[in-house]
């Protein structure tokens, strides 16, 4: 039950993009095409889960025991940056097809604040490791759903003649705003 609450909250009620404002840049940057948004969501899920596990271990077995919590930001970002590198190298060796699919999105992860944000939120919420993993995956799914919906809307808008002043980014934001309005309907679902 507790996990279900975490999942529904992260996906619908507090959607990472539409309510928490994390990962906006990739949300805007790769949402032009449905196909790339699928690849991006996959990469996010992959990295977000691993990053949450590793940072959780570091937080609970290094930073807290040695009272080094103030180094959280700097250690987390370094961990994430090197993790992304490693994932890239390992994927290339172990699963070339997966690397093909996710490859171009991986470098973007380092500057994706959704990854770091979820890692920090996991610590702030005092989740245990399992809860943290579920939280990370659910957030990645929430990211994926928002991205998928949004990219198909944008692909659709590309075929129409949006007025000049609104074309491109402005109308994308307005559409995202209406999407966020619609997501408010999920309020109180848990």
């Amino acid at each position: 039950m507790e996990y279900i609450i975490i999942i529904i909250t992260a996906i619908f009620v507090n959607n990472i993009v539409l309510a928490q404002f994390l990962g906006i840049c990739p949300f805007l940057g790769v949402s032009g095409k449905v196909s790339t948004s699928v690849g991006m969501s996959g990469a996010v899920m992959f990295v977000m889960t691993i990053a949450t596990i590793v940072t959780w271990l570091i937080q609970n077995y290094i930073l807290i025991p040695f009272s080094l919590e103030f180094l959280q930001t700097i250690t987390f970002i370094l961990v994430i940056a090197s993790l992304v590198q490693m994932v890239e190298i390992i994927l290339k060796k172990v699963s070339p097809p997966l690397y093909q699919a996710l490859g171009i999105f991986l470098p973007l992860m380092t500057t994706n604040c959704a990854i770091l944000g979820v890692a920090i939120l996991t610590m702030q919420n005092d989740y245990n490791l399992m809860q943290g993993v579920v939280f990370a995956i659910a957030n990645a799914i929430g990211f994926g759903i928002a991205l998928l919906l949004f990219s198909s809307i944008r692909e659709h808008l590309d075929l129409l003649d949006v007025p000049k002043g609104m074309r491109g980014v402005p109308i994308a934001f307005v559409a995202a705003g209406i999407l966020a309005l619609a997501f408010m309907g999920f309020a109180g679902l848990v």
Partner: protein, 195 residues
């Protein structure tokens, strides 16, 4: 432009550079940490004392202990206040999960005769303009609890058969506030009130 030669990317060079950068950064951070340690602790303490001061009568010493809540999973923190060695009240840091935007925490102060001295919202994410009226800085709504003894004053909104006037269009937040207060009171009761 800069025709200056950069160090080659040889392995020793890279390690050395990174090491130096990290070293310096680490030292700088350590320094700042030491400098800010005191103010940060002071700020945290000030915040707590500020809250305690709001919900309790004047005091000079505080003792705190953790007490398991009478329901719900978390434990509550009791701050017992003394003035010149005698108890003047107990503040209970309590919570609710039923807010419009989930969990929020409040502090409830009880006088030795089991009345609510005052309440203070510690943190919340309720909607600005609606649910945030539970906070004293936004509205006087929560003043209706002051001086009430929960034995006589049903900690429920009127719609649910209690004595609390709900905030217009924010019944959920009002209910949640009652939930947190009730949790504090029942636990406080179970602990035997101000012994």
């Amino acid at each position: 432009m800069s025709k200056q030669k950069k160090p080659e990317s040889t392995f020793p060079n890279m390690v050395l550079a990174l090491f130096l950068v990290t070293m310096i950064a680490g030292l700088a951070l350590g320094g700042v940490y030491v400098v800010t340690k005191e103010p940060i602790a002071a700020a945290k303490k000030a915040k707590l004392e500020n809250a305690l001061g709001k919900v309790l009568p004047e005091f000079d010493t505080i003792k705190n202990k953790k007490v398991p809540a009478y329901n719900g999973k978390d434990s509550l923190v009791f701050y017992t206040a003394y003035k010149s060695g005698s108890k003047v009240g107990t503040a209970v840091k309590t919570y609710t999960e039923k807010g419009y935007s989930g969990r929020f925490e409040i502090m409830v102060g009880f006088t030795p005769d089991n009345r609510i001295e005052n309440t203070a919202v510690l943190n919340h994410a309720e909607t600005p303009g609606l649910g945030d009226k539970i906070d004293k800085s936004k509205s006087d709504w929560s003043k209706q609890f002051n001086g009430k003894n929960p034995e006589q004053f049903q900690l429920k909104v009127k719609k649910d058969g209690g004595d609390v006037d709900a905030i217009t269009a924010a019944t959920i937040s009002s209910r949640a506030f009652c939930d947190a207060t009730k949790r504090a009171y029942e636990t406080y009761e179970k602990e035997g009130g101000v012994k």
